[in-house]
């Protein structure tokens, strides 16, 4: 039975009644869950999320650092990577000698103009996505050597910086705080941004 232009209101009511009866008779059992066909063990091992979440979770949990350390801030980083401060907790204990494997440059130390082309080259050889942490006074502005004839006044002259960590040198705790900031930045990345 269908509704036409000359249908009476009773016809419309009957039509509605039929629909209700139909739905009621076909709904005698509860609707099964989408995962109902899965076995109990499988259900416990699958969860649904977004591509962004999974990618960013992977990226922030394995920020591999390039070994491109130029001066004394390195020792704070070495301390951080050793057992007392232990950056293995964040999946960062893998220090890469090849820029192809690295996600992060920590600019630990004074950079001279003579060394600058090599650091820039290492950065350019790293695969996207990649991040840079400017560590210490020299990394930020050149520090006490800012007026020197041979020192680059801040890594931001040659590289795009994501996080600045002040200190001369920053303690490992400060470096950890900076890394935590970077992890938050990585978390907010969107897949569509590239």
């Amino acid at each position: 039975m269908e509704i036409r232009t000359d249908s009476t209101s009773l016809d419309i009511d009957r039509h509605e009644g039929n629909l209700i009866e139909e739905l009621r008779s076909s709904s005698t059992k509860p609707v099964t869950e989408p995962s109902g066909w899965l076995s109990e063990d499988l259900k416990r091992n699958i969860f649904l999320t977004t591509v962004d979440n999974v990618l960013n979770w992977g990226r922030k949990s394995s920020l591999w650092t390039e070994t491109a350390f130029t001066a004394c801030c390195t020792f704070e980083f070495i301390s951080l990577s050793s057992s007392r401060f232990d950056i293995a907790r964040f999946g960062m204990e893998v220090l890469r000698s090849s820029p192809r494997h690295a996600d992060l440059i920590i600019t630990a130390g004074t950079l001279t103009w003579k060394m600058a082309p090599q650091i820039k080259r290492v950065y350019e050889q790293m695969a996207e996505p990649k991040w840079v942490i400017a560590m210490g006074a020299c990394g930020i502005t050149g520090g006490i050597f800012a007026d020197s004839y041979s020192v680059v006044p801040g890594y931001n002259r040659i590289l795009p910086i994501d996080v600045y960590i002040p200190g001369c040198p920053p303690r490992p705790e400060a470096l950890l705080a900076g890394i935590e900031l970077l992890r938050k930045k990585v978390e907010k990345r969107s897949f569509l941004q590239g």
């Binding site: 103009w113 007026d147 004839y149 041979s150």
Partner: protein, 149 residues
């Protein structure tokens, strides 16, 4: 302990010709004419009593009116040290003989002094900048150097 040889003691060992090249005598060294440095260095190295056979370091200094290069020698046998100094008045084009022929260890230090003070060492096998890059303007340890900041 290492003891310094007095300037008089060393001047006493030089022959007449070389004595004329000595400009002034100090307590731990002598100031000499730049062009005679090879002869005098050979003399103090080969002298049987002095045996100043080890070149410890070479230092450049800018005293505004002149540049000074100091050679610190050491005698391994006698445990004694001695300093030879040279003054270069011509600051626009300072030059002096190289000691690389006698001590090959002088090579890198003389290059460093050339790099930072602009002093040319004639006879040096590889006279070019060592720390700074080719094309850098000026010599940064000169007192009148400005890097334009």
């Amino acid at each position: 302990m290492t003891v310094a040889i007095t300037g008089e003691e060393v001047v006493g060992t030089l022959d007449k010709k070389l004595k004329g090249a000595v400009k002034s005598v100090e307590s731990e060294g002598i100031l000499i004419q730049a062009e005679k440095i090879l002869d005098i260095a050979l003399c103090v190295k080969n002298n049987k009593n002095l045996k100043l056979d080890y070149l410890v370091s070479i230092t450049g200094t800018d005293y505004i009116d002149y540049l000074e290069v100091a050679y610190l020698f050491y005698s391994l046998d006698n445990n004694k040290r001695f300093t030879l100094k040279v003054r270069l008045e011509n600051k626009s084009n300072p030059a002096m003989p190289s000691l690389t022929g006698i001590w090959i260890g002088a090579e890198l230090q003389e290059r460093e002094i050339y790099d930072l003070f602009g002093i040319t060492f004639s006879g040096h096998p590889n006279m070019k900048r060592i720390f700074l890059w080719e094309g850098f303007r000026g010599h940064p340890l000169r007192k009148d150097f400005s890097n334009g900041n």
